[in-house]
């Protein structure tokens, strides 16, 4: 018995591993290889290539964090947030204001509160979360499209607010603070990564990178920073993965699919939505902070609605509802759409000599009349960075038309507590399946309310409901399942739990 369970576990673990880690590793290594080749073509030295890869890692990590947070909103709960940039801005601005020294050195800079960095980061994250609460409390009652308009309006209010001269410098409770207006804030506090950089062990890291890639100390620091970001990304991934697999996460998915059904099962859906919105916004704030807190400064321009748009493309590429997809989506977005065109342009520039481009579109098109496409090609090449945004827009349109589910966004949520495809031959499999699918059938066939009042504690098994039925009504039972399999079936605890995790494996 125990050996079969162990074997089962191993296959399950293997399939899980195949689902998530392999995909991420494969895609990211493909990106690395392609960019290493690009570096070779461009004639970069080893440190140049490694630096390119480091930059990719940095971007993927940051976009990945925000995409994961957005996945929590849209992918899991169906909250249509298009104000992502606003929450990131709040996180970063609050952190910078808190961390900037209270005694401004130069005449042109604004004072902060001079708090230590960890407290400033916590402050920024909390502020972003609170902003989420302020938006969520009233706005969650709205329809999805109105909610979207509200969130983007909020993000614009934030951006215009920090741009405004009126808030350039202000006083709260006797402390002089400022957002810097349109010119933004300059980072005049110590490098926030100094906690790590000043460690004894870091000097050996510098030496190591120096001997491996020929990195100088600055590059070594940047590399360490990117590694830290990847670790944070892994942490957020773990957090959201855990959240989405918990009973809490099941309720979120239920809200996404059918809020009224979730309500009828006794879930206070508003409370869930508020919690998850605040959590996601706090994570967006954290990502905003980590994105730019090491740079020399920040301007409101960094938080134009573009940022939100990028995150949405990444999410849709990966597939809403899948955390692994969110990371893959960010990787592909950064590699193909965000950085790709620029590197492609450099490579073409390296390989082919492209002459001077005409000044205007007219100058490029007019020679077409005499069948001369060269000026148009040159113009296109010169304006490639503009065209990059057109490509992004077209990519989004095509994705929505052809593949709205993205790479991994299959939303088939299996209700049964055991895999429906292959029945485990081990004892107890049959009865466990009966309990799980029964709860699904029981719900839709609308048995009396009394039986469902406490449905998250106990479900009565409608044994004759078949597996197909269960699959369609997956979610309803999914919310109420976690413990009920144990209650109704005669299986041992271990089997029920491993069954449960198998379901989750399919879910994602």
């Amino acid at each position: 018995m125990s050996s079969t369970v162990n074997a089962d576990r191993r296959t399950q673990l293997e399939s899980l591993w195949e689902h998530d880690a392999i995909k991420i590793i494969a895609v990211i290594s493909a990106i690395y290889i392609v960019y290493a080749l690009i570096g070779l073509i461009l004639g970069y030295s080893l440190d140049g290539i490694v630096n390119t890869l480091r930059r990719m890692t940095y971007l993927i990590a940051v976009y990945g964090m925000v995409t994961l947070a957005l996945n929590l909103h849209w992918g899991y709960t169906g909250l249509f947030n298009i104000g992502v940039a606003g929450f990131m801005a709040i996180g970063l601005y609050v952190t910078m204001i808190l961390a900037k020294p209270a005694d401004p050195g130069g005449a042109a800079q604004y004072a902060g509160l001079g708090l230590p960095m960890p407290i400033a980061i916590i402050g920024g994250v909390v502020a972003a979360g609170l902003a989420g609460l302020v938006v969520a409390l009233p706005a969650l009652r709205l329809r999805a499209d109105y909610f979207a308009i509200t969130t983007i309006a909020f993000a614009e209010i934030v951006r215009l607010g920090v741009t405004s001269d009126a808030l350039q410098q202000f006083t709260i409770l006797g402390a002089e603070l400022g957002t810097g207006g349109g010119r933004g804030l300059i980072r005049n506090y110590d490098d926030p990564m100094n906690v790590i950089f000043q460690l004894e062990i870091f000097s050996s890291f510098v030496d190591l990178t120096n001997s491996l890639f020929g990195f100088g100390p600055t590059q070594a620091r940047a590399l360490a920073y990117s590694i830290v970001l990847v670790i944070v990304l892994a942490g957020i991934y773990w957090l959201i993965q855990r959240t989405s697999r918990s009973p809490f996460g099941r309720v979120l998915k239920a809200i996404r699919e059918d809020e009224e059904a979730a309500q009828s099962l006794g879930k206070d859906t508003n409370m869930f939505k508020i919690k998850v919105f605040v959590l996601g916004c706090a994570l967006m704030g954290l990502a905003g902070i980590l994105w730019r807190f090491r740079r020399t400064g920040v301007t409101p321009e960094a938080f134009r609605p573009h940022v939100t748009f990028y995150i949405w493309i990444a999410l849709i590429i990966g597939g809403a509802g899948s955390n692994t997809g969110s990371i893959l989506g960010s990787g592909l977005f950064v590699a193909v759409l965000f950085e790709g065109p620029q590197y492609l342009r450099r490579v073409i520039d390296q390989l082919v000599a492209i002459g001077d481009a005409p000044n205007t579109f007219a100058g490029a098109v007019a020679p077409l009349l005499s069948a001369n496409p060269v000026p148009l090609v040159r113009y296109t090449f010169a304006e490639f960075l503009t065209l990059q945004f057109v490509i992004m827009g077209v990519a989004l349109i095509l994705l929505m038309q052809r593949r709205p589910d993205g790479l991994l966004g299959h939303r088939e949520e299996t209700a049964a507590a055991i895999p429906l495809g292959v029945r485990p031959s081990a004892a107890g499999g049959g009865s466990g399946g009966g309990g799980g699918s029964g709860s699904g059938g029981g719900f839709t066939h609308g048995q009396t309310r009394d039986q469902h009042d406490d449905s998250d504690q106990r479900t009565d098994g409608g044994i004759d409901a078949d597996a197909a039925d269960a699959q369609t009504d997956s979610l309803q039972s999914d919310i109420s399942d976690s413990s009920d399999t144990n209650g109704t079936s005669k299986t041992s605890d271990t089997t029920a739990q491993s069954d449960d995790s198998a379901t989750d494996g399919e879910t994602l």
Binding site: A139, L142, Y146, T150, T386, F389, A395, Q401
Partner: protein, 370 residues
């Protein structure tokens, strides 16, 4: 048990709305009171308020005109079209290309004129473009903006939205964000990202208003006249023609319209044409009024237009017009209390959010296009 719960939640949410309503009511009363007192004791001059109102009305007319199209696509096709702002920009460029060609024929190369002077060189002020000196070019440009954008909107529908006609409002909304992005940067690609002046100065009249002057110039007048004519045209079209009736039927109940034998696909095409045409005209008039054109003014206008449409109630063209005027006037009036002009847009967005919270169906209750 759950019935009681239901009643309790309903009661609670009602009271939130009522609380908000009361708060907004108190705010409005305070502001109006302050305004009246300020006017009486002379701290706010009447002519200054007059100037704000005039500016607000002009701005509001543009938003109302552009908002009609947004409102129509929202109610008939059932999605919030985030590409509407960039359709406005596209229309302005198309129309002004025509105006430049007619007014400046021979003064510069054709390409330079058709692209609205993308690089340094001859521009609108040098060509002396204005309603008084080159009225034909202006009217032709306005017509071109309307017709050109109407066709352009149909083309976009064909390429982007038609393949996903059955999809819900949210996928279409996301697609429209992609369209907006592609369109905006396509405009930059073709017309360059330079911001440029388009008109020469025109004679203006200073109207005496108690303690000062409110000045109106010929372009302000053109804007008012053109906007009123276009709005009247849409009104007549919706009320008097069969197409209008079909549109109203579709926005009321799509399935019923389909059952009645209304050719929905044709109605959708006309919706895009009328909405796009009005957006293009609004963009053209906006550029005539402000005297400058750049690649993202439509996008920056979009959320304000949303504010106007939501305030008036989605689906109602009269709501869009009134909403535009209210938003326009409030934005400018806000400068009485929040000086510097930094907060006008914020005021409009906050008003929109408040309307969504208190009365999501808007002033005119949405629903009908009648």
């Amino acid at each position: 048990m759950s019935t009681v719960d239901d009643v309790v939640t309903r009661g609670r949410s009602l009271s939130t709305e009522q609380f908000l309503l009361i708060a907004v009511g108190i705010g409005v009363v305070l502001l109006v009171g302050d305004l009246v007192l300020g006017v009486l004791d002379g701290s706010y001059s009447i002519s200054r308020i007059g100037r704000y109102v005039t500016e607000g009305v002009l701005y509001g007319l543009i938003m109302g005109l552009a908002g009609i199209g947004l409102s129509m696509t929202y109610s008939i096709l059932n999605f919030a079209n985030f590409a509407h702002g960039d359709t406005i920009t596209a229309g302005a460029f198309i129309g002004w290309g025509g105006t430049y060609l007619i007014a400046g024929w021979g003064a510069a190369s054709l390409g330079h004129l058709a692209l609205v002077g993308p690089q340094r060189g001859v521009g609108g002020p040098q060509l002396g473009i204005s309603i008084t000196s080159t009225p034909v070019a202006i009217f032709a440009g306005l017509l071109l903006a309307g017709v050109g954008t109407a066709l352009f909107a149909v083309l976009i529908d064909r390429l982007a939205y038609k393949p996903m006609r059955g999809a819900g409002g949210i996928p279409l909304l996301i697609t429209s964000i992609g369209v907006a992005f592609a369109l905006r940067y396509l405009i930059t690609f073709v017309y360059s990202s330079q911001s440029r002046g388009t008109t020469a100065s025109v004679p203006s009249a200073d109207l005496l208003l108690v303690d000062g002057y409110v000045s109106l110039d010929a372009h302000d007048g053109t804007l008012i006249a053109a906007a009123v004519v276009l709005m009247l045209g849409v009104h007549l079209m919706l009320q008097r023609t069969k197409l209008g009736k079909a549109m109203r039927a579709m926005s009321d109940n799509k399935d019923l319209a389909l059952v009645t034998g209304i050719p929905t696909e044709r109605v959708i095409r006309w919706t895009w044409m009328i909405g796009g045409g009005l957006a293009g005209s609004a963009g053209y008039l906006m550029v005539l009024w402000t005297g400058t054109i750049d690649w993202q003014f439509g996008w920056l206008l979009l959320l304000l237009i949303f504010a106007a449409v939501i305030l008036g109630g989605i689906g109602s063209i009269y709501g869009a017009i009134v909403g535009g005027l209210v938003i326009g006037i409030s934005m400018h009036m806000s400068m009485i209390w929040l000086p510097g002009g930094d907060f006008t847009t914020i005021t409009a967005f906050l008003m929109m959010i408040l309307v969504l919270l208190i009365r999501p169906s808007g002033l005119f209750g949405g629903k009908t296009t009648a």
